[in-house]
Amino acid sequence: MASSKDWAEAFLRCAAEDLEAAKELLASGTPPPGTLAMLFQMAFEKIGKAYLIAHRGKRPEQLRTHKAASVALWDIRQDTDWLWERGHRGQQWTRALLAVKVLEEAQPAVASRLGKSEMLEYPWEDAFLDRVITAKEGIPMVRDISQQGTTLASMLVKLGLHLMEKLR
């Protein structure tokens, strides 16, 4: 039977593939913002699941819902001694963690549970604009991630690699 360590490592390998795909999209020029955001969301969801297995003793069968990953990412944000290096708190990771939260809440199943229309992957009808829109139009951060003019994507990659390194 596979151990918890095996499962945590497998989730981290999957997360690494998602992050690598995100990096390749960025390098390709004008990446599709929605697809890029989904790759980051998927990477952090898997990192969250690896954290729950490695640090909270969860079994993989308890982690089949997106809700589990949301709880994990919330948990990581609170676990500041683990996340930050002692004595170097400052603003570290604040923007990247906020972006992770926005992405997580835009995962369709999570958005639906929260009663939100805005989501990754699928379009929705915007009542104010009176038309159907997608994530790149309705979630400003999704657009920001794909643009050279912001450093959000670089922050997310660095945070993802940092979390994966700490979980190995």
Binding site: G29, P31, E85, Q92, R95, Q148, A153, S154, L159, L161
Partner: protein, 105 residues
């Protein structure tokens, strides 16, 4: 491919966008390159990981950044380690050639 001056102009434009976009950015340095923008950015927005991870971006025609770029984000502590030669930049990044791009006043 553009001229060295075109890349320099785009480099400064991108650095100023990044200063404006991330208020926790302390300093941005560029590495002169005739083909691409290369920036190392010292910011409080990232933690000290001891890892240097350059991220490549394709040209962003919509925002008139017509050259590819390579961005390295480091924390102030990591920047100190780089200066003290305790943390190495990628081989092609020559510390001696880095030029500070000041924040617009």
């Amino acid at each position: 491919m553009g001229s060295m001056m075109e890349v320099e102009v785009a480099t400064k434009k991108l650095a100023l966008l990044h200063y404006a976009n991330d208020p926790d950015t302390k300093q941005i340095f560029s590495l002169p390159n005739p083909e691409r923008i290369q920036l190392i950015e010292v910011t409080d927005s990232v933690g000290t990981t001891g890892e240097i991870c350059p991220i490549e971006f394709g040209p962003d025609v919509k925002n008139l950044i017509l050259f590819p770029s390579e961005i390295i984000l480091v924390s102030p502590a990591e920047w100190g380690m780089i200066r003290d030669q305790k943390l190495n930049l990628p081989e092609s990044w020559d510390m001696e050639s880095l030029e500070l791009i000041p924040r617009a006043s």
